[in-house]
């Protein structure tokens, strides 16, 4: 009964999405206030029904209802509760449902936080999101119904993929999807602006916080995914350039460009059509990512259950959404105008260069990801011969990606100190010369202190310190302004958006340091160890004390006991495991990691090699946690930026001016009561 309720709720949600995707948009075009006013309540209603559907599927998982095909395929009675809840998104159908859940959460947020926006804008934004929801709800209902019954019911389920049975992965997809889907808001704002023909600084100010929040979630989501691959997939790598990783990384790159481009549009009114294009691209790449992962056109460990029929559906959806947006863009963007002019050297031009670099980076990742597919298609139609088949792996991406980022980091130091509109090169050079000198000196000396010289390490350190020094310089210049006031007061009086930018840039520096140091000074050994054998790595002594059998809720494990000594005193015991999950019989290596701020100790069991001896891998990984720390700092920088006071004061002002308008205008806007309530509250 419960699954049927869920199925029915999805159908109701689809009907509501159809209303939301049509009437408010038509209403906005024809100026029919009552149709526009439908957007909010319908979106909220849709939220309720999608939540019901999601709750029903979760219920079926928690109660192990194996008469539901999807549950039988992705759960098991022995699966711990937490993974039964997370198992909802452990397969294709459930991930889609999660996607839609995220979409309606974003919609609800728009209905709540849009009181200061003109009614037409809200109607269009929610209308566009409604259309996206129509696409995904029909996709799920017509090709991937998670509530399909299995009769007779399975005696027990086939269990969740052991790779996914991990706390990191339990929260990775929701975070990632929050980011993916969050770009639909920026996208909807862009389309709404194109439809309305009004693209100005206020528009940029409205879409900015939404874009930043989506970007924050995506940043966290990607970082979590990387963290997960580090210790679950891991022999210590943290990024594999897998098609699915790339699928999440491309929207991130474009989203980063979009954040910077929106800043220019808001502050200077420039880059308008470029900003709109980026907003369209960021969401299109999210959809493309979904297509690549779900259709099975590329092989990847992530692409569970791929099906050409589904692929065709997403492709058609992609064509409709992206095609019509780009058509709309081609039609309306020329009328938007170019905005304020700027000189060849100015903060605008530097930010434009940043945008181009990020777009090129995203393009090259896209090319690398799709290369097998492109070549395949060309071979199939006879343009290329069989001999032209290529393979693309990490070497391609590193060669192409790193140089682009080196330029981007250089700009990151110069951009924030350059003046808007027109900056002079000599003045810029004077302002950055000390920062540059300090960074160069540190880069020349640091590798020797860390161990040994390497050009790559030196370059990484140069980039990181270039950012650190320029950030520090920017802070100092701002803090010097009211020199008479106490230091802490001056710091607090700085705009939050400025502090957010600085923190995020600092995060990039921390990230680069992590990547550089781990790349240059990682220290590891693969050894055959008998009971009592010791091995020394990174100043620690590891003693192998044997392997014992252990039993988990749904797996059997061999658990290694490794005592770690520093200077002869025992400091800890590490327990790496080899697990075999009972249902899927897939062996899993669970590394034992002692996480520290400055270093990780990483121990993994290899294979038994007879006589109680095992091959053991022991690693000393300096600064590896900085990779994720940097990502967290970037995300926190975003959080700080959206807490900036000007978004709130602006919202209040707009609410007030809207109210005046509705008071004087001859059409009584139906939203007036809502506005009054909002006024009372604030």
């Amino acid at each position: 009964m419960i699954p049927e309720i869920g199925h029915f709720a999805l159908i109701v949600a689809l009907c509501m999405a159809l209303v939301q995707g049509t009437l408010p948009i038509i209403g906005a075009a024809r100026g029919i206030p009552r149709w526009m006013a439908l957007a909010r309540p319908v979106a909220q209603g849709q939220f309720v029904f999608v939540v019901i559907a999601y709750a029903c599927l979760t219920y079926a998982f928690i109660h192990s209802d194996f008469s539901v095909l999807y549950v039988a395929e992705h759960s098991n009675s022995a699966l711990p509760l937490i993974y039964r809840i997370a198992g909802v998104w452990g397969g294709h159908e459930g991930s889609l449902l999660l996607w839609i859940l995220m979409l309606v959460i974003w919609m609800l947020a728009v209905t709540v936080f849009s009181r200061h926006l003109p009614e037409e804008m809200v109607a269009r934004v929610l209308g566009v999101m409604g259309l996206v929801a129509v696409g995904f709800l029909s996709f799920i209902l017509f090709t991937s119904n998670p509530f399909e019954r299995l009769l007779p019911a399975a005696p027990d389920g086939q269990d969740l993929n052991p790779l996914l049975q991990d706390p990191g992965l339990a929260i990775h997809p929701p975070m990632l999807y929050m980011g993916y889907v969050g770009f639909s808001v920026a996208f909807a704002f862009a389309i709404a602006a194109l439809l309305g023909g009004k693209l100005d600084a206020t528009w940029a100010r409205w879409s900015r916080p939404w874009t930043t929040v989506a970007w924050m979630f995506l940043t966290c989501g990607i970082a979590l995914g990387s963290w997960w691959s580090y210790y679950v997939l891991g022999w210590g790598g943290w990024w594999f350039w897998d098609p699915v990783e790339n699928a999440s990384f491309m929207p991130w790159l474009v989203g980063t460009a979009l954040i910077h481009s929106l800043a220019v549009t808001e502050k200077r009114g420039s880059f308008k059509s470029w900003t709109v294009l980026l907003a369209i691209f960021a969401f299109s790449l999210s959809l493309l990512g979904t297509f690549l992962v779900r259709s099975g056109v590329l092989t990847s460990v992530h692409s569970f259950a791929s099906d050409p029929k589904r692929g065709l559906f997403i492709l058609i959806f992609l064509v409709i959404v992206v095609g019509s947006s780009l058509l709309l863009y081609a039609w309306r963007a020329p009328k938007v105008g170019l905005g304020g002019s700027f000189a060849l050297i100015s903060r605008e031009s530097l930010l434009l260069a940043n945008n181009v670099l990020f777009a090129v980076a995203a393009g090259s990742v896209l090319l690398g990801t799709l290369a097998p597919l492109l070549v395949d298609a060309l071979v199939a139609v006879g343009v290329l011969g069989q001999s032209n088949k290529i393979s693309v792996g990490a070497p391609y991406f590193n060669t192409v990606f790193v140089p682009i980022m080196v330029f981007a980091v250089f700009l990151m130091g110069v951009g924030p100190v350059a003046k808007w509109k027109k900056a002079s090169v000599p003045e810029l050079a004077v302002r950055i010369r000390w920062g540059g000198a300090v960074a160069l000196i540190v880069a020349a000396i640091m590798p020797f202190i860390l161990g040994h010289w390497s050009w790559l390490v030196s370059l990484g350190i140069l980039m990181a310190f270039w950012i650190i020094v320029t950030v520090a310089q920017g802070m100092m210049e701002r803090l010097r302004v009211h020199g008479d006031r106490p230091w802490s007061e001056r710091l607090l009086s700085l705009p939050k958006s400025f502090l957010g930018m600085q923190l995020a840039h600092l995060g990039v520096a921390v990230f680069i340091l992590g990547v550089t140091v781990i790349g240059g000074y990682e220290n590891g050994k693969d050894v055959r160890m008998e009971v009592g054998d010791t091995v020394e790595v990174g100043g620690y002594t590891f003693r192998f004390d044997g392997v014992i059998d252990a039993t988990g809720p749904n797996y059997e494990a061999s658990r290694g006991i490794i005592s770690v000594f520093k200077n002869g005193t025992p400091v800890m015991e590490l327990n790496p495991e080899k697990r075999v999950y009972r249902v899927q019989r897939q062996p899993m290596t669970i590394a034992a990691i002692d996480g520290g701020f400055l270093r990780h100790l990483f121990v993994a069991l290899g294979e038994p090699v007879g006589n109680g001896a095992w091959s053991v891998r022991v690693y000393y990984k300096p600064l590896v946690s900085w990779i994720w720390l940097g990502c967290v700092m970037m995300a926190l920088g975003g959080l700080l930026a959206i807490s900036d006071r000007r978004y709130r004061t602006l919202a209040r002002k707009q609410r007030e001016s809207l109210q005046e308008q509705s008071g004087t205008a001859n059409v009584a806007l139906p939203s007036a009561p809502v506005l009054t309530r909002a006024e009372v509250k604030s």
Binding site: V297, T299, Y329, S391, Q586
Partner: protein, 174 residues
Amino acid sequence: MMRYLVPLAVFVVLVGFLWKGLQLNPGEVPSPLIDKPAPAFSLPQLGDQTQKLATADLRGKVWLLNVWASWCESCRAEHPVLLQFAKTGEVPIYGLDYKDSREDASRWLQQFGNPYVASGFDGDGQVGIDYGVYGVPETYIIDGNGVIRHKHIGPITVQVLQDEIVPLVRKLKG
């Protein structure tokens, strides 16, 4: 106006490729090498560099050539299947470690287990190019006369073993 159409044009081209790609199964690309003699190679082995893995030495028996690399995630997915299959002793599996570093590759085998009788180390990918390797992993079935009889692109699953590889190997062994 025209320049605003550029993104749309790029997108249309992309969709063309995606549509074509959808009709192709990445695991079913015909190889021009099927039923042709396997390109000869003699490579240093992965573990012991002084030892060679050479096609000439494998004449007279049916064997599998599995192209893998430590950087390849899909190889991880097929690895347990290969390990299990190697234990059955049905057919010897030889590895071609493609565009990899010795350290990474050795470590990889140490951690995940080694299903290969031996692996040739093809660091610069020259042998891979001879074989028309286009995506790792790939698996070739080569008969006693040194002729490639079958090529599978993408990870080997239990299904693939049952439906494609084992029947053909048994047929070739006669």
